[in-house]
């Protein structure tokens, strides 16, 4: 489901296989395990993480089919992704998402939870799909969006038009840092950027603490439960 490699100072975390890399409980556990492994590596304070994927998808979001069959898993997946994103925010090293395929909803949030987003421009899009599939967007997703997408108009376009954001639009909106002609070029560029950053000799622990401070509002929202009046119901969105 995911593999972890070390190349010099770079950790390469890859969502494997040609599927949609849906963030089901198992994949989320595997990802968190990988992060734990990274954290406990003795050289981690001078390292960097690159997250990428095989195939057409970076991640197509939560496993909604699984949630249909067992609604209690909705809360489980939400809780596990909250923990994973909190882990990424406190990770004592810079992080790069090399987006080589579609990133939708929770998958889009996972990409944005990295410090740098590099994306291919020949295909693929970032997509906050919820409006199109009649789901609401959790407050903590909105906290990530508010942090990572600076312009109110861009946030509105992402959330209220469910725009399929190409790399070019992503660059305009400031969600994507740079774009490349193919998946391979994107990964290569991520590695090159990673090596440059590591060469600067960043102290990972200081970096991680600074990122936590910068993203304090996001961590706060991740940590807080939605209030009782907002509690999730299993009955769907018909009101």
């Amino acid at each position: 489901m995911c593999t972890l490699e070390k190349r010099g100072q770079l950790f390469l975390l890859k969502l494997t296989g040609n599927g949609e890399h849906r963030l089901n409980p198992t994949l989320l556990d595997n990802l968190r395990s990988a992060i734990t492994q990274i954290r406990s590596d003795p050289s981690s304070s001078r390292s960097l993480l690159i997250t990428t994927s095989d195939g057409k998808f970076f991640s197509n979001g939560y496993d909604l089919a699984l949630a249909e069959s067992d609604p209690s898993l909705r809360v489980v997946m939400d809780s596990k992704l909250r923990s994973l994103v909190a882990d990424l925010i406190s990770l004592p090293m810079p992080t790069i998402a090399a987006v080589t395929g579609h990133a939708s909803a929770a998958g889009f949030v996972l990409a944005m939870s990295h410090d740098y987003v590099l994306m291919r421009r020949d295909r693929g899009f970032l997509y906050m799909s919820e409006l199109d599939i009649e789901l609401v967007i959790p407050a903590w997703f909105v906290a990530v969006i508010r942090m990572k997408i600076g312009s109110p108009a861009a946030r509105r376009d992402v959330m209220l038009t469910a725009e399929k954001v190409t790399a070019e639009r992503g660059l305009e909106m400031g969600i994507v840092d740079s774009s490349y002609g193919s998946a391979a070029e994107t990964i290569e560029a991520a590695i090159k950027l990673g090596e440059e950053i590591v060469r600067r000799g960043v102290d990972g622990y200081v970096y991680g603490r600074m990122r936590e401070t910068l993203l304090k509002q996001v961590l706060h929202t991740i940590g807080s439960n939605e209030s009782a009046s907002n509690r999730m119901r299993n009955s769907g969105s018909k009101l």
Partner: protein, 240 residues
């Protein structure tokens, strides 16, 4: 005397502030607008969209300060101002709660609460030949209500734009408003042109046939600070 009308054109609701006056938000005007918004809400279906516009030189020139002054005393004037500030809040709340996309087509000037009214919509289009945005408070010596400040913080992205709008007393035309990111478009040089452009956007949004309750919920989650001040909570249904 009708101060505003609500028409239906296919999927589109058209709310118009009628007459050639300044469309100031006297408590009666506010009540009429609120009642029409409630009507639109009750008639909404998948694919509904609201477009708000006005006749004449003004979209809206803000609160009815003359009415406040005619109270005959300082206390009376302050009370009337307070009444207008408080009675306007439900209009903003109704727009944030409306189960459909909302578009403001600025036919002319939008000042103070008139600009707030415009910004309470999801999309704002203005003319490039006429009409300015103007936060007059700094010139009139009036403080900004807290929910006004929250709106600007939420909807206007750069500190430069917020300063220009709130602290400089500047009258901002279409081109500059687009540059500052305050409005979405100022590409038209007539009232009809702006309305046409908003109708075009409206029809393309209507074509998505979104669930209005979900749309409103996502909109409210996009602006948590303003909604908290207006006493609005996003109703959360199933997620993911």
């Amino acid at each position: 005397m009708s101060m505003c009308t609500l028409e239906k054109r296919g999927d589109l609701f058209l709310l118009t502030l009628t007459g050639d006056d300044e469309h100031r938000f006297h408590p009666d005007t506010t009540a009429s607008v609120l009642s029409l918004l409630e009507q639109a809400k009750s008639q909404s279906t998948r694919g509904s969209v609201l477009i708000t516009t006005a006749h004449g030189k003004f979209f809206s020139n803000g609160f009815d300060l003359a009415w406040a002054q005619s109270a005959g005393s300082q206390t009376g004037a302050v009370n009337r101002m307070h009444q207008m500030v408080e009675s306007f809040k439900p209009v903003v709340a109704a727009l944030f709660d409306l189960p459909m996309p909302t578009i403001a087509a600025l036919n002319g000037h939008a000042a103070a609460s008139g600009l707030m009214f415009a910004l309470s919509h999801d999309y704002v289009f203005m003319r490039n030949d006429r009409g300015v945005l103007y936060m007059s408070e700094v010139d009139l010596g009036l403080p900004l209500p807290d929910y006004f400040a929250a709106m600007f913080a939420a909807k206007i992205g750069t500190s430069i734009a917020r300063r220009e709008l709130l602290l400089s007393g500047k009258k901002i035309g279409g081109e500059e408003a687009v540059g500052l990111g305050i409005v979405d478009s100022a590409a038209h040089d007539s009232a009809e042109g702006v309305v046409e452009a908003t109708v075009s956007l409206g029809e393309s949004l209507a074509g998505k046939k979104w669930n209005g309750e979900v749309y409103a919920s996502i909109r409210k989650s996009l602006y948590p600070g303003v909604c908290a001040m207006l006493g609005l909570t996003a109703k959360i249904a199933a997620s993911p």
